[in-house]
Every structure is written in structure tokens, then in C-alpha cells.
């Protein structure tokens, strides 16, 4: 049975790329447009991993990670943050909030798949 990944990014083009890349590898992908949307969607189903951008309106990536870690259902779920080279301090904040790993934008689809395999198997 395939694993479900929650992908969170306010950029439609990135969301589409993530869905395309991961579905080809056999994962199920649920997309959300920001942290608030993500939390709503996470309530509905079993999610095996979360990939999230950090800069988003409403609830941003850091807040999302904090909210997820505080929820017993997501305490040990692997969470990957999408960061940019110029925002490495955000990456540290994400680590503090409990993120498992990170990918730097821009990234190639193969890099995304490698990280998912490394954290989820």
C-alpha cells in the first residue's frame, strides 16, 4: 500500500512539480496551499510524511512544523522543509521547531526523491 505525502507550498508551480515527481514514484500526494490548509487536510487522513515550504501566508512553515509536532499523530512524522540559500537562518528555526530534514531550492526532481527515500524509505 502506497505512502501518503502532504506537500505544502503557496506556489502552484512548485506544488505541481512535487505531485508529478512523487506520484511517478508511487507515492500518494495531498497538496495544501499554506500551513492553515495543511493542518485542515492533515486532520482528514493518515499522512506518512510532510514536505513544506517555509514562506507562506496565513500559517507559515515554521508554525506548521510546530503545530504538527505538538499533535501526537504527527510527533514522529518525517517533515522536510524547502528552504532557499539566502534563508539559512530560517532553516535553523525549522530545525528547532522539529523538522527532520531540508531541501534547498532550486532543487532537481531526483534530489526530492532521494530525500523522500532517505527519510521515509
Amino acid at each position: 500500500m502506497s505512502k501518503t505525502i502532504l506537500s505544502v507550498d503557496d506556489s502552484a508551480s512548485i506544488r505541481q512539480l512535487v505531485v508529478f515527481t512523487l506520484e511517478k514514484e508511487g507515492y500518494e500526494v495531498v497538496s495544501a496551499v499554506d500551513g492553515q490548509d495543511a493542518l485542515a487536510k492533515a486532520k482528514g487522513q493518515a499522512v506518512d510524511m510532510v514536505i513544506t515550504d517555509l514562506n507562506m501566508p496565513n500559517v507559515d512553515g515554521i508554525e506548521l512544523i510546530q503545530a504538527l509536532r505538538a499533535d501526537p499523530a504527527f510527533k514522529f512524522t518525517p517533515i522536510v522543509m524547502l528552504t532557499t540559500e539566502s534563508a539559512m537562518n530560517k532553516k535553523d528555526a525549522g530545525k528547532q521547531a522539529g523538522a527532520t530534514g531540508w531541501i534547498v531550492k532550486p532543487f532537481k526532481p531526483e534530489q526530492l526523491i532521494a530525500v523522500v527515500k532517505r527519510l521515509l524509505g
Binding site: 500500500m1 508551480s13 532557499t84 532553516k91 523538522a99 534547498v104 532517505r118 521515509l120
Partner: protein
């Protein structure tokens, strides 16, 4: 990629529109940090997504602007009239760059530089270099793999207690290391406290990994990049399998332990004085932990093995074994697995911890035995693929066609019986591609294709299956021709309406062939249906995807092994059945309410999807005791999802397949049987056939 570029452009144009609004608002309320946030995020997305989809000029330009707004966000800079004007001008510039990427306009590079400089003036003079902390997810230095010698590394992975707190799972990391080469992994459990004192959220284990690989140390370090802060990692090369070292004996266990600092020299000397084996002595004296010894021994063992392998590289070290002997072995393993299941069930009933411990070990060993014996029968499919090269060459010459034959995935392994039975069907499919698929070179050029056609034969693993596909960029299937021929042959009536996919499926009907001339190669009309039944005989499926004028791809999906599969054990009343787990995607409940909501039709709504189901009680005429809530096991074959209704889902079951006896072989929807731990028989359902049958019955109006 074009579609993605377009999507980005659309997104960017929209963002720019929002951005302009925000800037005008910001001009009125220069201290409103929310608006600043909106501006920052818009720039950030334009930059980030731009870089992703190849708009590097936009990404570079926006970078400086984003940095300025970051400073404003942090309160280090105030919004001024000048900044707003510059930003609005930049929006125009970005728009121009987007237009230019579509060929609509040219962009003034001087203007870009001018604006960038204007923004840079707002930045503090020392701008730090970007953090080098990004993981290099590319395999570093793998280009020279063939030349680099095998090196053995000693890797120690000691997670801190709080490893799991950030969602880390150490097992995929170990798997990633395993994929780099040959490895032995030893787990240290000496810090594991009693169950009563254990914190289930803490990590008490650490691992030693002895890895022999051609990868370099940075590739190994990269695996641990996310856990650097939450664990202790040491990686040291301990042996290079360069030829010079091969004669020297590898270090003795004591030396290894000494080197690692696990023991002191005095312990080593004292222990050596006695005659016992060093490991035993050190263990007896309590100087070192059992897992340390195991780890050191593993290192020694692995390196010795690697050296032996390397030394024997030129000699052939394989043995020919009569296939019958292997079959006997696999049979025995099957019997063993069955008895082991009984043992496990029995020990669970007896609740005797000693017995359960033994049963667990037997289970572990028989699983390993099963995997190894299944593995012995696996051969790379490349051996079969290779002989097709000649076939393609000869045939394309005979027919005057120019064909590039590409093979992929030759190292994919399959059970020997499966490979043997695949040969003929593959030959037929390739012949079809050459004969009917690829056009003559002049015809190809006339329709804008390169004169040389491509036939790609590829194999890859997919879960518990192997996917083999033959893809050509030739004619593709012509639905009109197929339809006409099918009507002519009486396979369908002239009034029947079919979808394009269904028309494609007609080529598998017995007696079908659209070849104008029966050539020496094909056209006898005995081909595709035989291909399909051969593949189905191997418990596989055949699918065709085709696009007129573009090409055809035939995909074969085959199970990895025919003898033992992972199954899902289910119950209907007192009968047990097994559904191959590889086909199962999920199980949901079927309540009275669910049934009435579908108005008596066999449909169930799962989240947003409507999925048809087959009520197995009806199929098998089982009438006793329906439970109030039934279970629907949802399977996925190709892109179709169909549910099967059962009473209870018991769980995963290692299923040793026994063929049905002579008399019962023709029952289509059962593909075999298995013996459960308590001695009863469970029938294994042929999901594909069941779906086919139900579709047939529905189409003929014999069922609801």
C-alpha cells in the same frame, strides 16, 4: 517542462499584479509589516520558483530585492518612496523578462543592472556568503566508480536518545548505506533498559556498519547529513582492497577492538596469555560487551570475504545446478514455511515465552531461507534481452527498416521459470513492433519523424512485480482498422460502441490480425491472444497503450515469484481466502448505510472516489451468517480500482502457493490454494480474472 514553464509564468504574472497592489498600499502605510510580508513572500516565490523552472535571470534579479525586503521585515531598514518606486519599476522589469522568455519582447540588460545597483545601495556593505549547509544530494565523485578501488569503511552511528523527536527513522538511513555496496550491520543494544524502565520515545540503540564500497567518504557522510546534530557519527576507512594488501591477513579481532578503544592493551595481553579465543575471554571477563565483539567479528568476516572475492574474481565461482533440484529445494522451503506457521500459531496459543522465543527464531530463519532460495532462482533478464539484438538486426534488414534497439534494466532479476516462459511472447511483441509498428524510413521522414525508428525494451521492479515494456515510436494502433477487422471477424457487432482503449484491447481477441499479408514473420493471427494467455499463465497482465501516428507501448506486469507471495488473509463465514497483497491498496468498512446509499448498486464511496465492488458471497454462493458490518478490500490493477467484499480481514499471511489439483485447474477465478497454520485450506483469489468475469457478466446484462 514547457507546461511547467507556462504554469510558472502564469503564476508570476499573477504574483506581480498582487505585488503592485501591495506596493501601492505599502506606500500609504509604510510601517505595516503585514504588507511588507506580502511583498517579501511574492518576491520570494517569484525567485524560488523561477530558479526551479529555469528562469535564472529573474531569480538573480529578484534576489537582491528580496534581500532588501528581508531587512525591512527585520526592522533594519525603513520603507521609503524611493524603494517603492524602484520596486514598482522592478515589477515592470520582471514582466519584461517573462515576456522575453516567450519571445514577445526584448529585455534591457542595462536596466536590470541599474535597478540591481540601486537596491544594492540599501544593503549593508558586508554581505555574508550564502550558507554552505545544503546537502549535496548528488552522489559526489561517482563518475570514477569503475576506477576507484573497493574500500571498506567502519561506520559508527550512535544516535542521541532524542533522535526520534524530529521524526528521524534510522532504518531508511541504514538501507541507504546498504545500497552503497556490501555491508554488515551490527546493532548495539547494551543500553536498552528493561521494558518497565524504557521510554518508548527514546532511542537506545546504536549501529556499527562495515561497508565495502566504491563510493567515497563524502557520499557516506552525506547519508547522515540530517542527523549530524542528533547523533555521533564516525566514518573511517579500514581497508582498501587494492591488490597490494591482498596477501596480508586482516587485523585480528583483538587488534580491531584495541584500535577502536573498546579495550586496553593490558586486557588484550592478559587475554592472549590464556588459550581461549580472544573474543570469548574478553566477554567472560566482562571487559567488553557482546555486541562489540560481534561487531569486530563482523568487520573481520566482511573484509576477509571481500578479499577472497577479489582474489577469486577471475575464477568462475558458480555451480551449475539441475533445475529440478532447485525446484525440490523451493518445495521443501514451502513446506517448512507452512509448518513454521503452525508452530507460531501453536506457540501463541500456549503462551509459553520460551516456546515463543524459539518459534520467533524459526520464523526468522525460515524467512531468510525463503528469501535466499527464491533468490537462487532469480536470473537477470539481460540474458533473454541480449538475444533480441540479433533478431532486431536481422528482421529490420529483411524488411528494409532502420531501427535503433534500446535495452534498459537488463540487470532486473526474475524467476527462471518466468524468464523461460517470457521468451516467446517477447519475441512476438518485438516482431510486431518491427513489422507493423515502425514504418519505412521514407514514410517516417514524410510524417516528420526521424528516419530511424526506436524500439525500447525495458524492465524494472515495481513492488512485488516486474514491469517489462516494449515501446516503439511507430505507427501506433489504428482504431478504425482494428474496429473494421473485428467486425469482419465477427468479434464484435457493427452496432457496438467501444472506447478507444477497448478497441485497443480487441487485438488480444483470438483469431484477430490486421496484417494485409501474412508474412513469414507475423500475420497468422495466432499471436496476441497467445501472448496474453502466456502472460496470464504466469499470473501476470498485459496492457497496451497506443497513440495513432506516435507509437505503441505494451507493458507486461509479472509477479517476482510464483511460489510464495505475501497475501491478505480474509474470511467469509467459515471459509478463508487469500488476496495477493501486492494488488491491495486499502480496506474500508461496508455498512448497511453504505449499501442503501448506493441504492442496491455495488458501489462504495471512498473519500472522493466511487469504487465498484464485487460481493464475494454472491460469487461463491456462501449464505451463512452475514455480519452487520462487512469489509471491502480495495485492489488496484493497472489504473482500475475494484473492491472485494468479505466478512473479516485477518491480516498479512505468507502464502505458499499450492497448485490446484488436476480436476480443479480450470476454475478461472482461483489461482491456487494454501494451507493455513491450523491445517485448513484457503483459496487464493485471482483478482484479475474475477474482475474480468464480473465485467463480462455485467456487459451481457446478466448481473446488476
Amino acid at each position: 517542462m514547457d507546461a511547467q514553464k507556462n504554469l510558472y509564468r502564469e503564476e508570476a504574472y499573477e504574483l506581480l499584479a498582487n505585488l503592485e497592489d501591495a506596493l501601492i498600499e505599502l506606500e500609504q502605510h509604510p510601517d505595516d509589516l503585514d504588507i511588507v510580508g506580502r511583498v517579501f513572500r511574492a518576491m520570494h516565490t517569484i525567485k524560488g520558483s523561477g530558479a526551479m523552472f529555469g528562469f535564472d535571470d529573474i531569480a538573480a534579479f529578484t534576489h537582491t530585492i528580496e534581500t532588501v525586503y528581508d531587512l525591512i521585515r527585520d526592522g533594519k531598514l525603513s520603507v521609503t518612496q524611493d524603494i517603492i518606486s524602484l520596486t514598482l519599476s522592478s515589477c515592470d522589469q520582471i514582466k519584461a523578462m517573462l515576456d522575453a522568455s516567450q519571445g514577445l519582447e526584448t529585455v534591457s540588460d542595462e536596466r536590470t543592472v541599474e535597478l540591481t545597483q540601486a537596491f544594492t545601495a540599501y544593503l549593508p556593505q558586508e554581505e555574508g556568503a550564502p550558507d554552505k549547509g545544503s546537502p549535496s544530494l548528488e552522489k559526489t565523485g561517482d563518475q570514477a566508480d569503475g576506477q576507484r578501488p573497493l574500500t571498506t569503511f567502519r561506520i559508527r552511528f550512535q544516535p542521541h536518545k532524542d533522535l526520534f523527536a524530529n521524526g528521524t527513522n534510522p532504518l531508511p538511513l541504514l538501507n541507504e548505506l546498504k545500497d552503497l555496496g556490501e555491508s554488515t550491520i551490527v546493532c548495539h543494544m547494551k543500553d536498552l533498559p528493561d521494558l518497565m524502565d524504557m521510554d518508548p520515545e527514546a532511542c537506545y540503540t546504536s549501529w556499527d556498519i562495515i561497508l565495502t564500497t566504491t563510493s567515497d567518504i563524502n557520499t557516506i557522510r552525506d547519508v547522515f547529513i540530517f542527523v549530524e546534530d542528533s547523533s555521533e557519527i564516525t566514518i573511517e576507512p579500514v581497508d582498501t582492497l587494492a591488490t597490494e594488501n591482498l596477501d596480508a591477513e586482516y587485523k585480528k579481532v583483538g587488534e580491531i577492538l584495541l584500535e577502536r578503544g573498546a579495550i586496553q592493551k593490558e586486557d588484550l595481553d592478559k587475554a592472549l596469555k590464556t588459550q581461549k579465543r580472544i573474543g570469548e575471554v574478553l566477554l567472560d571477563k566482562g571487559v567488553v560487551d557482546k555486541s562489540e565483539i560481534r561487531s569486530a567479528l563482523a568487520e573481520q568476516e566482511q573484509i576477509r570475504a571481500m578479499r577472497k572475492k577479489r582474489a577469486a574474481a577471475d575464477e568462475t565461482s558458480s555451480i551449475r545446478v539441475p533445475a529440478a533440484r532447485l525446484d525440490a529445494l523451493v518445495n521443501l522451503v514451502g513446506e517448512l514455511v507452512t509448518v513454521q506457521a503452525r508452530l507460531t500459531q501453536f506457540s501463541a496459543k500456549k503462551s509459553d515465552p520460551d516456546l515463543m522465543g524459539i518459534a520467533e527464531e524459526v520464523e526468522r530463519l525460515s524467512a531468510e531461507l525463503r528469501d535466499i532460495s527464491m533468490g537462487i532462482r532469480m536470473l537477470p533478464i539481460g540474458t533473454t534481452f541480449a538475444k533480441f539484438k540479433r533478431l532486431v538486426r536481422d528482421l529490420s534488414n529483411e524488411l528494409g527498416k532502420d531501427i535503433n534497439f534500446v535495452m534498459e534494466g537488463e540487470e532486473t532479476e526474475l524467476d527462471k521459470t518466468v524468464i523461460d516462459k517470457l521468451s516467446d511472447p517477447l519475441v512476438h511483441l518485438i516482431r510486431n513492433s518491427i513489422d507493423h509498428g515502425i514504418e519505412q524510413p521514407d514514410k517516417r521522414v514524410a510524417s516528420g519523424k526521424p528516419a530511424q525508428g526506436v524500439i525500447k525494451l525495458s524492465a524494472q521492479h515495481s513492488g512485488a512485480h516486474v514491469l517489462i515494456s516494449i515501446a516503439d515510436d511507430g505507427n501506433g494502433l489504428d482504431v478504425d482498422v482494428i474496429r473494421a477487422k473485428a467486425i469482419e471477424k465477427g468479434i464484435i457487432s457493427a452496432e457496438t460502441t467501444l472506447t478507444e482503449k477497448e478497441i485497443h484491447e480487441l487485438i488480444f481477441a483470438p483469431g484477430f490480425s490486421t496484417a494485409q499479408n501474412v508474412t513469414s514473420v507475423s500475420g497468422r493471427g495466432v499471436g496476441m491472444d497467445v501472448v496474453r494467455s502466456s502472460i496470464e499463465g504466469l499470473s501476470g497482465t498485459v496492457e497496451v497503450h497506443s497513440s495513432k501516428g506516435r507509437g505503441t507501448t505494451i507493458t507486461l506486469k509479472l509477479p517476482l515469484t510464483l511460489a510464495i507471495i505475501d497475501g491478505l488473509l480474509v474470511n467469509i463465514a467459515s471459509e478463508s481466502f487469500v488476496i495477493p497483497l501486492g494488488a491491495v491498496v486499502e480496506c474500508v468498512e461496508l455498512t448497511e448505510e453504505g449499501k442503501t446509499r448506493a441504492h442496491g448498486r455495488h458501489l462504495i464511496k471512498v473519500r472522493e472516489e466511487i469504487i465498484p465492488y464485487i460481493p464475494l458471497r454472491e460469487t461463491f454462493s456462501i449464505n451463512e451468517g452475514i455480519p452487520a458490518i462487512e469489509q471491502v478490500v480495495i485492489t488496484e490493477l493497472g489504473d482500475k480500482r475494484v473492491g472485494f467484499v468479505v466478512d473479516r480481514v485477518i491480516g498479512q499471511h505468507q502464502t505458499v502457493i499450492k497448485t490446484m489439483g488436476h480436476m480443479l485447474k480450470n476454475i478461472d477465478n482461483i489461482s491456487g490454494a494454501t494451507i493455513l497454520g491450523d491445517g485448513t485450506v484457503a483459496l487464493i483469489l485471482d483478482v484479475y480474472k474475477l474482475i474480468q468475469q464480473t465485467e463480462y457478466l455485467e456487459r451481457e446484462g446478466l448481473q446488476q
